[in-house]
Amino acid sequence: MNGQQPRSVAAAIDAIYRTESRRIFATLIRLLGDFDIAEEALHDAFRAALEHWPREGVPANPRAWLVSAGRFKAIDGIRRRARFDALDDRMDEVEAIVDESVAFEREDIDDDRLRLIFTCCHPALSPDAQVALTLREICGLTTEAIAQAFLTAAPTLAQRIVRAKGKIRDARIPYEVPAATELPARLDSVLRVIYLVFNEGYSASSGPALMRVDLSAEAIRLGRLLVALLPDPEAIGLLALMLLQESRRAARVSPAGDIVLLDEQDRSLWNEAQIAEGSALVRRAMAAERSGPYTLQAAIAAVHANAKRGELTDWSEIVALYGLLMRIEPSPVVELNRAVALAMRDGPSAGLALVDAILARGDLGEYHLAHAVRADFCRRLGDVQQARASYRRAIALARQEPERRFLERRLAELAATGAAA
């Protein structure tokens, strides 16, 4: 405050802010019952720490000190406003807060963070709002950083967050970990939000936006937090899946920004620590009685990640895992992936038969990768004409520039070999 505070105390407060502020915030929401009041209380608490700690020293339990400081500041504020507005229900609110005995047990604090996660990912909020709220309130990113990461205007994003908080307050979305009967469905919603954040970061990583927040890293951090708080097999499976996909980040795009396919990637660029951690998590998740979709996708990623060379990939295992995935979550995209694996195991004509069956059914006709896969099968079978037609269709449907460039390169190579033949 006056420039005389010991540097070490300021540094300690800084460190506590970084590691503890979101936890304290989560507890303050429970105690105060409102996101905005809790946010204000959090800042008041740290302001109070900057004032008191240099004189009195850092308390033995800084988190507990900050929670009660924030709580009392908030109660003061509500009392002042209540007197000003002469609102009786506001006073009732204060009494309710004051009466509540504050628990600082480790369990309660952890529960508060889970409550925050489940509330931010509540299905009564729009998916966009769930993502924005999660990054703002759990990860503590600024509205500007989130807006930039999603290429959205900051006021639009701020509005989205304000509206979501308004719905939480007015429709009374509870600040609770759901009951056991509701948990699987509600957890799905949390996992979907985390994976959405991850994928946004993963696909943006090929773009020119070096200044953007690393959303994949934020998603992995969220995944770790969730696994620590609620070690559900699918949460473990999702964390494994993200780590295994992230392990290939350096290899999946060429220095020129072009996509490099899995079998052409320089495997020495893969992150071994992430592969080891991801594979161990897959084993842990697979120990559950019945594997969910994230776990199975992670298991497939682990088979790829653990093949030292492309030709050592255990395609039979991958075909089997896609078969399991088809059984619990059938979709044309999963079927397409299974066709690719089958073609690697049994040859391109087996794969082509499957892809043609999917397309004949009227599925994936507008999905560029279905045509790209078909083109690749035809090319390997020597049917240049069919391959060319499918590449052209894929290029017409591709939306991202690197993907289009990749397909055009393939088409050009085809023309070259076609001419040579």
Binding site: D89, H122, A124, D170, A171, R172, I173, P174, E176, P178, E182
Partner: protein
């Protein structure tokens, strides 16, 4: 906290349901209301007359205009409502999930009643 559960349904679809199915649904509704009354959460509720009986009022150029039919031109219309007391949205959703027309393609809109305006 009070919530209004608005039960929306496609009337054509309702009319095409077999008689036994309609009876089953109405019986389920009775049970639903009875259970909520027993737990002290039921405030009010009713099944509305068909949309053939609806009349809509608007004001145009300062004059009331009365027209035949419901106000929204959609396939699904409000067919009934329940006003209930719940501790939060999750409880309201859990109760709304038991509304029997859901399994026959209906929708339920859950709306909180503004505090200070509760019945």
């Amino acid at each position: 906290m009070q919530y209004l559960l608005l039960c929306c349904f496609d009337e054509d679809r309702w009319d095409k349901l077999p008689e036994t199915e309609r009876e089953r649904i109405m019986h389920e509704y009775g049970k639903f209301q009875h259970d909520l009354a027993a737990s002290g959460q039921y405030r009010a509720g009713a099944k509305l007359g068909s949309i053939q009986t609806a009349t809509t009022l608007r004001e145009r150029a300062g004059k009331p205009v009365v027209t035949d039919g419901p106000f929204a031109e959609t396939k699904e219309h409000l067919g009934g409502y329940h006003l209930i007391d719940c501790k939060d949205l999750d409880e309201a959703i859990a109760i709304a999930r038991r509304i029997p027309t859901l399994s026959a393609g209906g929708a339920v809109e859950v709306r909180p009643v503004e505090s200070g305006h509760q019945a």
